[in-house]
Amino acid sequence: MAHSDAVALPLDVSEKARKKGKIFTKRSIPLYLMILPAMIFTIMFQYIPLPGRLIAFTDFRTAGFQGWVGLQHFRFLFNLDYFWNAFINTWRIVLLGYLFFFPAPIIFALLLNEIRVKSFKKVVQTLTVLPNFVNWVVVSTIFISILSPRFGYVNDLIRAFGGEPIFFFSLPRLFPWLLTYLRIWKGVGYSAIIYLAALSGVDAELYESAVIDGAGRIRQTFAVTLPALAPTILVLFVLSFADVFSGLFEPVLMLQNPMINSTAEILDTYIYSVGLVNRRYGLGAAAGLFKATISMTLLLTVNWVTKRFSSEGRGIF
């Protein structure tokens, strides 16, 4: 954040005049050429597939388009308990995510920021960032092994204290919590990087004057530190809605098994299995469109609310 604030904006009068002028100038053409590859890639993989959303209203087979069917797929889905179950499962995980996964790096960064022993701080940071770079394939295997009822050492500990071993990945009620824990385990240190960068930019004088005003440690946190973090938190909060559902696809796919599907089948895994595995493309696309509409509405709403209530009157985008 510090960077963008410190930017000297090169927008003097002559440039403003130039901006109003022709689009293609000797200066701008090379720059447009430089952005061309990104335009091509974005059009190819973000825009051209968009009309494919309409597959939700068609009978689409391996052979291709067979005809329009209107809302038939949606009627089918909305009458399907299994679909609504996946819908609720998705929301349960999303909600737990915002309760724990989102605040975790903020709390972690605040605590780490209080550490004065530099080497300890660095070691903790390095260790906690590392899991982010490990594949979900690996993360899921590590935890399935650690939590295994036969050989996992968590159950060894439980047994050592005289408890019954827990079949962690066979309990439907446990799955959303387990997944949330794994997401935090993998992501907390990495997400904290941006908050720590913002914290390092807080003016020390603010703390001094807070102390002079008689603020204790906790008051300082609420009066100085959190307000300094607020813009970063807000940006990341709004942006988190951009992949509010899709970020769950891979870990859930790795961890789900038939025993826990009553809580571990989410919209994305449902779309995948009905659409690509069973090749009911229309049905999969309908579930996908439903999901995309919700997540788009959410993102736009959150951004609008931000715009409405932020002091500068601007949203994130």
């Binding site: 130039r18 952005i35 990104a38 906690t128 390092s200 990341l236 891979e250 736009l300 985008f317």
Partner: protein, 301 residues
């Protein structure tokens, strides 16, 4: 950061805080160390899992992994995908971000909407539409499907652009007065000053390609093209067969199975370590660029 006022309460807080963070760090470290230990240890499956030091040190499992010819091709596939993908991603996003960063030309806000905000809001075509489109393009079951869709990333563009803004515009202006072309300015002035952010983005993109399992899982069904994560997942599935083959191989190697216990978990752990090695090697080198390189500014600018 905070002032040095040592009240008793604060001292207690600091001790607890240090302990808490130590525990957090250990919850990260212990699972990874236990994998490392399992990969180096002939040890009967017993209730000794918490021990992090191998009881009977061996490189057997690594020999097993390296002797498995079927591991090499997926590994090389992933190296290829990661190298090409990272290079392409860095090129495409850093050049696009440069145009976005230039407030003196028309359209830079349009580009932000077109390349970052609208794709983010709409979220692309979704699994089914992508599948149909990739099939029409003829890139299903090719390396391309594991590389091209992830090249242009709005998030990377924003991070790089924010970094460019920290470079004084006067450098560009004086080069312009000297008659340098925009390409020259980018290559000779901007790029050399942006190594930190390029390193951070290379790390992001590299990790993303190296770990990409989902696209291969959904869109590639030719075993010759499988990247390492797909192979890895297959190797991590416990089957009686896999353990039997492993024990036969151990016998051939002259290992006395009555003395030590050769387990499937050992091979699985060794393969996990091998798969993570490239990241572990690159990570400390690239890590120091994080703090300097990665800041998010306002998106629209």
């Amino acid at each position: 950061m905070s002032l040095k006022i040592d009240t008793t309460g604060h001292r207690i807080f600091r001790v607890f805080n240090g302990l808490l963070l130590l525990i957090v760090a250990l919850t990260m470290l212990v699972p990874m160390l236990s994998v490392l230990k399992d990969s180096l240890d002939f040890q009967p499956r017993s209730h000794l899992r918490l021990a992090l030091i191998p009881q009977e040190f061996t490189l057997f499992y690594y020999r097993r992994v390296l002797n498995d010819v079927s591991v090499y091709r997926p590994f090389l596939n992933s190296v290829l995908i990661t190298a090409v993908g990272t290079a392409l991603s860095l090129f495409v996003n850093s050049t696009a971000a440069y145009t976005m960063s230039r407030r003196d030309i028309r359209g830079n806000v349009f580009f932000v909407y077109f390349l970052v905000i609208i794709p983010m809001v709409l979220g692309g075509g979704g699994i089914i539409a992508n599948f149909v489109w990739f099939r029409a393009l003829g890139i299903l079951n090719t390396y391309f499907v594991m590389i091209l869709p992830m090249v242009a990333m709005g998030f990377y563009m924003i991070i790089i652009r924010t970094f460019y803004w920290s470079i004084p515009f006067s450098l560009t202006e004086s080069a312009q007065l000297d008659g340098a072309s925009e390409f020259t300015i980018f290559l000779k002035i901007i790029a050399p000053l942006s190594k930190a952010v390029f390193a951070a983005i290379a790390l992001f993109a590299g990790v993303q390609y190296w770990n990409n399992w989902l696209y291969a899982f959904m869109f590639v069904h030719n075993p010759r093209l499988y990247p390492f994560p797909v192979k890895l997942r297959a190797m991590l599935f416990f089957t009686q067969d896999a353990e039997r083959l492993l024990q036969e191989w151990a016998l051939q190697q002259g290992i006395d199975l009555s003395e030590v216990m050769v387990t499937f978990e050992g091979t699985a752990s060794a393969v996990i370590i091998v798969s993570t090695l490239p990241i572990l090697v690159a990570y400390p080198y690239l890590q120091r660029y994080f703090a300097q390189g990665v800041r998010i500014g306002a998106i629209k600018g």
